[in-house]
Amino acid sequence: MTQPAGVEFHNVVKRYGDVAAVTGVSFRVDAGTLVTLLGPSGCGKTTTLRMIAGLELASEGRIEIAGRDVTAVGATQRDVSMVFQSYALFPHMSVLENVCYGLRRSGIAREEAGRRAREGLAQVGLAGYEERQPSELSGGQQQRVAVARALVLRPSVLLFDEPLSNLDARLRRQMRQEIRTLQQSLGLTVVYVTHDQQEAMAVSDRIIVMNKGAIEQDGTPRDLYERPATPFLARFMGESNPATGIARPLGNGRIAVRLGEAEIAVASPRVVSGSVTVAIRPETVRVESRVPNSGGLTGRVEAASYVGTHMEYGIATTVGSLFVVCPRVERPLPVGHEVDLLLEPRGVILVDG
């Protein structure tokens, strides 16, 4: 049994032949925290995770776990466990044998291994399922066995590669909460890979967003959502509408951005003026029937759909077509209706580039 450990990447590159799957990433994961690698499919998340596990060895750079250089050390010797996307339960072993496997390989006697495995299974709520074969379990149960199997080793780092992608939406929400609770109560270091932005925000202490093999931004969920550094991030972390406005400094770390007819004061660390790119969060925009001089952005409803919890509108404005959600569902605005869009400072994000 080992202490949870931190992980550090220093300029790590992974190449397959000529293609670089990961191009020089550096980050650190503090001991006892849950950090998520988030990004679109093919951006190099799995590759990065597998390099932590030692299933792939880095082509360049240095990897440290618990302060020790493990760059050339294989998976078996790294004290890292992983929960696979496919669960990878051994089909020829019972549930108990699966969970015992790592303990036995670590040289723990059969009885002790069995006891710890039962304990682990109880921890994930699967007491009583020891003698089943993996094929006799539901998807969610298989998932739990995979977690228990990795957990009982008390690895210094625990890795998850899209662990919930094979489950239905309801189970996904429940499992991610269970994983987070386990991680916090046991103080584990967890690196978690997902492409689902909501899942990442729900479970993480920190999120590392990757794009095209490189790190795009690294921060807390709130940082990333409210202060995305790039247009890619603004788009990727939740919905947003890109738009171009004219900026004018106001002083006090604020600038005024003119968007069509509307002008709005937003916080900005830098003093900028002239043309700027902003991202408008759809849930922060209020849609009202047109009144003269409302100070809002004028537009016309192009599309309206009812999705149960809210209305979704496509609205044509002078700064382009905007996607807007509106919690009022009782009296939807008809297509063709003239509207004012009232912007909120927190919903207009200044992005570089």
Binding site: A72, Q77, S86, L89, F90, H92, G102, Q133, E136, G139
Partner: protein, 735 residues
Amino acid sequence: MTRAGERGAALAWPALGLAACVLLPWYALQDGLGSLGWARELWNSEESGAAFALGLSLGRWWLLPTIACLFAAAITALLPLPRARRGTLLALCGAAGIACFVAQALGIGLRGWTADWLTGLFGELDGRQFGIGAGGAVAGIACVGIVASGLALRGAFGGDAFVAGAVAAVIASIVLFTAWPILRILVQAFQNGDGAFVPSLLLERLSAPKIWTLRCLLGGGRCGVAWNTLFLAVCCGVGTTALGLAFALIATRTGFRYKRTLRVLTVLPIITPPFVIGLALILVFGRSGLVNQFLEWAFAVPPTRWIYGFQGVFLAQLFAFTPVAFLVLIGVVEGVSPTLEEASQTLRADRWATFTTVSLPLMKPGLANAFLVGFIESIADFGNPIVLGGDYRVLSTEIYFAVVGAQLDYGRAAALGLLLLAFALGAFFLQRRIVGTGSYATISGKGDAGLPTPLPAAARRVAMAVALPWAAITALLYGFAFLGGVVKVWGRDYTLTLEHYVKAFAVEHGANGLIWSGAAWHSFWTTVKLAAVAAPLTALLGLLAAWLLVRQRFAGRAALEFATMLSFAVPGTVIGVAYVFAFNVPPLEITGSALIIVLCFIFRNMPVGVRAGMAAMSQIDRSLDEASATLRGRAPQTLAFVVLPLLRPAIVGSLIYGFVRAVTTVSAVVFLVTAEYELATTYIILRVINGDYGLAVAYSCALIALMLVAILAIQLAVGDRRLGRRAGPTQGARA
């Protein structure tokens, strides 16, 4: 791993090598290691000395560099060094050790230095090369192990010393026992009788009119062996493909009731020695065969030797290799997606149009593949041409006579071997291109299958008309083959008797218990023993190589895969001749031993094990291995607890194949057997050549029985895998 553990692991190979240099005789002993007399002479005899003694006090200074490299490796392992540095140094020490080892092994021959410039450099040599023995072998292996462990420390092979060692072992053994012998053929083909290197000689040997003449077309005399071989192979390829297709269509696309019988009939030839059909053909069509006797009796036609020659070999090969074509084509026919055929039918094509415009074109690459398989089998065949060929000489028999016959012309044998190899590799590359590029036959694995469209009536009638008589004749031939063993003298005296079996397999009670007095027992037990030793090793090496190829990524992976596949295409005759050339002189002097036969079995049959293993392994989700690795399972444990249990069917297959092929093979081992190590097949062939059909047939039947027993035993011993409720797919359990 801790620094100390790392050091200990790094020390293992150098320590083993040094121990071998002190404790084992470096050279091969006349009577093996069994009697421990050598232990007393380790320090004072040139024949059975250990490397240290030989190098330091017995004047064989050329062994010292290798020992020094082992020493350097041991010191490197003990020094406090960073991981990567230690790895680099170890790899260098090991590589230097291999270089020194190989240099002294090849630089010194039976008569001192093997090259003039070496004599010039070191002066006349006092001493000569002996065959490498236990000490030398272990030291050489240790050097390879040192390189592997060094590379693993540097982070190659996923940083895993076991994987590194396994890769090194597989590569080294393939280089030593496949590549090196074939290289020796190449060299031999350029050498004259005195062993001198004459570049023009190969051309001279290959352009001999006996090989290439086309006189038969002009009406006078016989054609060259190259044309004979090619013509036979093309006919065999076309014939087996046509028959195989007919069988495959019947088995998959008709409601034919006796499909199972059909399958048995097509599998039977695989477990029979390849010349049994030839033997049966002699019994039916031979000079004193049934047909001739009937003609003589009914029409007073004098008996002829009609069957001997092209027609006989062709018929025998058709019977023998149609099952192989069937097995290839059944996959192809089943691979044509029924959905496509159903789509075609919904597009107003009737069954015949669907068959000719959709199904057949989709099968085309598969048909080409089957043709090439038949082609390769035919040129590699030795048993049927030797039994039935008569004057119709082909390359494989010609090589045999060049080596074994009165000519004793090794250079010519080597040149012919190269030609045969060229044909085989040519066909092999063609086949790979066809299989690699043009195959559309795919089974999607999705549940969209639909039902296979029944064969159109006309096609069905043709297939039946071809296949059923053929199946009947095969059954008849087997029947006659069996009968031949239980009648007195075929052709003259048809009284039933067991005398052939008695002659072959008699067991008597003597004063000291049982006496195995039958004529066949000696070769029978030799065969069983050697095959039983070879089969597990074949399976092990094959599956290990497959595991490395499918699961590990390392530099040279593609080259290794290619090399194993290539050795599959090398005809047995070529391998046999190559082994004779490569292993009858030091440094590796093992001709005449059981070892060379076992090695030949292993490296002949391993490629199929590799293929089977790769196919099975690619059905097992890779993440299972990785899960084991992240759960502290080291590579050998992963192999033992996860991969092998899931591979049971492939293990059974490889074991059976390794055993059956070892028992039935002829072409490679005819060059390697001796009076002491005689094999069943070569013994039978000699009986056939001497016209002793009764005994030959009886013995063949016994062999078939032996193989059936062995197959059952293997299946019982290895068992099946159990995957619980939904037994079947071997992927990681998924939602």
